[in-house]
């Protein structure tokens, strides 16, 4: 089984009904020259990659950019169309006055399974006290948070907001809150590893392909930026497979991961077990 914990459904045809909305989405997210694709095309790629399920991530940038890249309702619709294939996440702009009501609705009515936030794009520090009620709301519903971390190439995104060290206080104050700092917080891989060693509630994902081929990128990540035994020895319960589609393609990252030597238990954890634990579908 393989679960992709990092997919942006911005070109899913089921939610591409309005040209203005599509144009905003493309500009705000910074992905161009792609066309909407239907479920058949999504599933044919997942089938080839042997990916069983994908977590879909929206983003609310209401106060910084005046809209949403993908809405909670749109993610809920896709997840409802194929509940066996998709794991729907919510998003909220933390500066919205109705942020907590939006989360209540997303978790209780839309049945979304986690929260996606992007400090770089939404312009907030994760350790800002303003965020505490949002973290408490996630704890109330036992929902995890996926944060964008490290480099963000979306327009109008500031990397300092998403530096991994800005998350340590969150891990300390909310030890029961499961948080994923996506993309290995690249290029701050050592800081990411430091957090995972210290805090068992901190996760990351494999969507690292900012330079090089998938094989070169994964080899560097798992054997140069990290010691080649670090995953087996210490980190195998905190790394999840994530592709960052549509920026990177699932099957190419998986092709590269297959070439990284690791214990089969570690590989299973990365491919799906950690994801199930992270979203609360499997006991700790």
């Amino acid at each position: 089984m393989i679960i992709d914990m990092h997919v942006h459904p911005i070109y899913y045809k089921a939610i591409c009904k309005d040209e203005k909305e599509e144009a905003f989405r493309s500009e705000a997210f910074g992905v161009f020259k792609q066309s909407p694709y239907d479920y058949d095309e999504i599933f044919v790629e997942m089938k080839y990659a042997k990916v069983d399920m994908a977590a879909l991530l929206p983003l609310d940038v209401t106060t910084t950019e005046g809209g949403v890249i993908v809405s909670n309702e749109q993610v809920a619709k896709i997840a409802a169309d194929y509940p066996e294939r998709f794991i729907g996440f919510a998003s909220v702009d933390p500066r919205r006055s109705d942020a907590l009501e939006i989360l209540d609705y997303a978790f209780s009515t839309l049945k979304l399974e986690g929260l996606k936030l992007n400090p770089a794009k939404q312009h907030f520090y994760p350790n800002d006290k303003m965020m505490d009620p949002i973290y408490k709301k996630c704890l109330e519903y036992n929902k995890p948070i996926i944060f964008h971390a490290g480099l963000s190439w979306e327009p109008n995104s500031i990397t300092e907001y998403a530096h991994p060290l800005k998350f340590e206080e969150v891990a300390v104050k909310f030890p029961q809150l499961r948080i994923c700092l996506a993309h290995f917080a690249w290029p701050f891989v050592r800081e990411m590893v430091m957090l995972m060693i210290k805090y068992s509630n901190v996760y990351t994902d494999t969507s690292v392909l900012y330079l090089d081929s998938p094989e070169e990128s994964m080899k560097r990540l798992f054997t140069v930026d990290m010691g080649s035994l670090w995953v087996d020895r210490a980190l195998h319960k905190q790394i999840m497979f994530g592709s960052n589609g549509p920026r990177f393609r699932q099957f190419k990252l998986l092709r590269a991961l297959e070439q990284i030597p690791m214990r089969e238990t570690s590989r299973d954890n990365i491919y799906y077990r950690n994801a199930l634990r992270f979203i609360g579908r499997e006991e700790f």
Partner: protein, 142 residues
């Protein structure tokens, strides 16, 4: 006169040979243009249009030869972030194989039929799938 038709096809693998001979012949035979030529053109830069003998062994030899020319693990400069896409380019093998195959083929049309050799099948070849592909079939004549 000019008529433009479109064939849509969804590939299922990163590389895949797909024969479109029958569809192209049918389009020409249903056309009101009886004499002229037909152009078959791909709308993409990581696919190829090929005319060749429709045998699995020929397909295998062509695929293997293209792999030797443009292996997946070569050090391509294209493997980096592309701001114009917002994605990392990692499909140089597809671009190079597309260049080798070419983006089109053409046949004469006489009395409402394509004039071609018996072994000449028409293929679109996927080099960066899976994805949906578009092939234009343009008939020019009278």
């Amino acid at each position: 006169m000019v008529e433009l038709h479109t064939i849509n096809w969804m590939s299922e693998r990163p590389e895949q040979f797909h024969m479109i001979t029958k569809e192209v012949h049918q389009i020409v035979e249903k056309s009101s243009i009886k004499n002229g030529m037909v152009l078959i053109v791909t709308a993409h830069t990581t696919t190829g249009i090929m005319v060749n003998e429709g045998l699995p062994c020929v397909e295998t030899d062509i695929a293997d030869t293209l792999d030797r020319i443009a292996p997946v693990d070569a050090e391509y400069v294209h493997a980096h972030f592309l701001p114009s896409y917002g994605a990392t380019g990692n499909n140089s093998t597809g671009h190079i194989k597309s260049l080798i195959c070419g983006n089109h083929c053409a046949f004469p049309v006489i009395n409402g039929k394509i004039v071609c050799g018996g072994a000449q099948d028409i293929y679109i070849i996927e080099f960066d799938g899976p994805q949906t592909r578009k092939i234009y079939v343009e008939i020019i004549g009278e």
